[in-house]
């Protein structure tokens, strides 16, 4: 059996003859290249700058995972899932419980991803689907209810005291040239990127991924060519929940503690990143998340009056507001044109 046939049997589609399109316009690409050049030159000139860039990418990749989860749900259900941060926090507590029971960090990690996936599917089927036909507002309110429900359940089971998990990547530090990088940051970047790549491969090259994209794009047409759209949307929630769990599990090692409020600021950053990327664009969410992480980190060092760490959240809000005012479709989104 050839590799090709093997892929076919696994339901993986042909890898050849594809174009990768990001949906980005020329000015946006120019902006990205300029940003990358700026970071490269800055890093070569100053080791502090390089260190801040690396840890910024690490933080940004956490924002990117959660932003991507928001985008997945937005594409499937056309609402912003306000419970996304709390879903991530709740699943991280589940991972914590596994480590308390004696599982290693990574065993807990993968067990939690599976649980998050199933929970995401269940949430869509049990509480989102019944109200989805009524109105967008009804779904938004349900996600807010879900947010406070998860908060309440976590406080009830685990209490509000901070909890500690084993460090997944150890505490060692690398020196490259004059630049110091922590293994935690490098691990965070690697895990986020691997997750995003696996998800991208899934959506581009599997039958199920193709059917899920079809369901999000044109539900009626997808139904009539035989796609079980409701089931596909539920799977979309499952993937988003698992992705959120990754962001929660990567937030914990960066903050060294687990607390019920830990994902609340991350959700705001993820919102800002998702909107900056164009809400419908997975590529946009990932790039914007990383860019926002680096930007906030550099601002904390070189920001003059804006250096204060208390200003991180307001700055993220300012980005959100600016995008909505200047370019509501985001960097990678298409202007919404509906033909009637």
């Amino acid at each position: 059996m050839s590799v090709y046939e093997l892929f076919g049997r696994l339901g993986i589609r042909d890898l050849g003859a594809r174009r990768i399109s990001t949906g980005a316009s020329v000015p946006v690409l120019a902006l990205l290249v300029a940003g990358a050049v700026f970071l490269a030159v800055g890093s070569l000139m100053s080791s502090t700058f390089a260190e801040l860039t690396v840890s910024g990418v690490a933080q940004g990749s956490v924002f990117a995972s959660l932003a991507l989860a928001l985008v997945l749900i937005y594409r499937a259900t056309e609402v912003v899932n306000f419970a996304q941060g709390e879903m991530a926090m709740g699943t991280t507590y589940i991972a914590y419980q596994f480590t308390v029971w004696g599982l290693s960090y990574w065993a807990a990690f993968f067990a939690t991803l599976a649980i998050a996936f199933v929970a995401g599917v269940a949430v869509q089927q049990l509480v989102i689907r019944p109200v989805q036909r009524k109105s967008v507002l009804a779904v938004v309110i349900v996600t807010i209810g879900l947010l406070s429900l998860i908060d309440g359940v976590v406080l009830w089971i685990w209490g509000g005291d901070p909890k500690f998990m084993p460090a997944p990547f150890g505490n060692s530090v690398y020196h490259v040239g004059g630049v110091t990088m922590s293994l935690t940051d490098l691990g965070t970047i690697a895990v986020s990127i691997a997750t995003v790549v696996v998800l991208w491969l899934f959506f581009q090259f599997t039958k199920l991924g193709l059917a899920m994209r079809a369901s999000a794009l044109r539900p009626a047409a997808a139904r009539l060519v035989g796609v079980r759209v409701n089931w596909m949307l539920a799977l979309g929630w499952g993937f988003a929940a698992a992705l959120g769990a990754v962001s929660g599990l990567l937030t914990e090692p960066n903050q060294f503690v687990l607390s019920p409020t830990m994902m609340q600021p991350i959700l705001i950053y993820a919102f800002a990143a998702a909107v900056l990327g164009g809400l419908e664009s997975p590529v946009g969410a990932v790039i914007s998340g990383i860019a926002l992480g680096v930007f906030l980190n550099l601002l904390g060092q070189y920001g003059g009056y804006l250096k204060d760490s208390a200003l991180r959240l307001p700055v993220a809000f300012a980005v959100l507001l600016l995008v909505l005012l200047v370019k509501p479709s985001g960097l990678f989104g298409r202007a919404a044109v509906r033909k009637v």
Binding site: G11, A17, A222, V225, G226, R228
Partner: protein
């Protein structure tokens, strides 16, 4: 027995009656035209047959079995495929991927290579296989209509519902479409129900024509007969015009 049988269908949206006691049959292996002025309910009938709308009374039978308990995603398993008036393609996918979505649902366990081959064959049949790796978004409207036709054909339907396939096509493209529809009937033995405003096309290729006006069937018969039917002429031209002409 007829392949498609629409029986005494009633459909209301709130206080508005969209379809009132609509009945008609389409015989296997024939091409039937469904015509009527704008707003007569032609697309509504397609949506009823494909289960996007739930009808209030009546029944829809395909090959003798009722579709009323079939969810929209299983209608295709009864051999019914359709196209849409305003084109419902997946814009960010390539042309081939659009057709593949239709091919995959035929059998979950079919190998990818064979699904791809069928999708490519469908594109060849329509004559657009050279566009396979292009994204669907941005192609001309006439081409999008053909991609949609290929997506419907890839599942090898017994009954094909076409919603204004000639809409937005130029004169030469309409001629090509007529030839293609003839081939579907004569070579692939496909049964076609066609909603179309292009009267020349409808009259040329239909074996039978059904006329709908304000949600009711007002006539049906062979094309030559329909063209001379006074009620049909009135529905299309309006009563006043006829009287002033007389």
């Amino acid at each position: 027995m007829s392949l498609l049988s629409v029986r005494n269908v009633h459909l209301r949206f709130g206080g508005i009656t969209a379809l009132e006691d609509v009945s008609f049959d389409v015989e296997e292996g024939t091409t039937a035209g469904l015509i009527g002025p704008n707003g007569a309910g032609k697309t509504t009938i397609f949506n009823v047959i494909t289960r996007l709308y739930r009808l209030d009374e009546g029944d829809v039978l395909v090959d003798g079995s009722s579709l009323l308990r079939t969810p929209p995603s299983r209608v295709i398993r009864h051999g019914v495929a359709r196209t849409f008036q305003n084109v419902e393609l997946f814009p960010t996918m390539t042309v081939l991927e659009n057709v593949l979505v239709g091919a995959h649902t035929d059998s979950r366990f079919e190998r990818e290579r064979s699904a791809r081959r069928r999708a490519t064959e469908a594109l060849e049949l329509i004559g657009i296989d050279e566009l396979a790796s292009r994204p669907a978004a941005g192609l001309p409207f006439g081409t999008l209509k053909r991609i949609e036709l290929a997506r419907a054909l890839v599942s090898k339907p017994r009954l094909l519902l076409l919603d204004e396939p000639a809409g937005g096509l130029n004169h030469r493209e309409v001629e090509e479409l007529a030839v293609l529809l003839g081939r579907l009937r004569d070579q692939l033995k496909m049964t076609v129900l066609l909603v179309e405003h292009h009267m020349g096309l409808v009259m040329k290729i239909s074996d039978h024509v059904h006329v709908l006006n304000f949600g009711r069937m007002i006539a049906n018969g062979p094309p030559q007969e329909i063209q001379r039917n006074p009620e049909v002429i009135e529905a299309y031209l309006g009563g006043e015009l006829d009287e002033s002409a007389a």
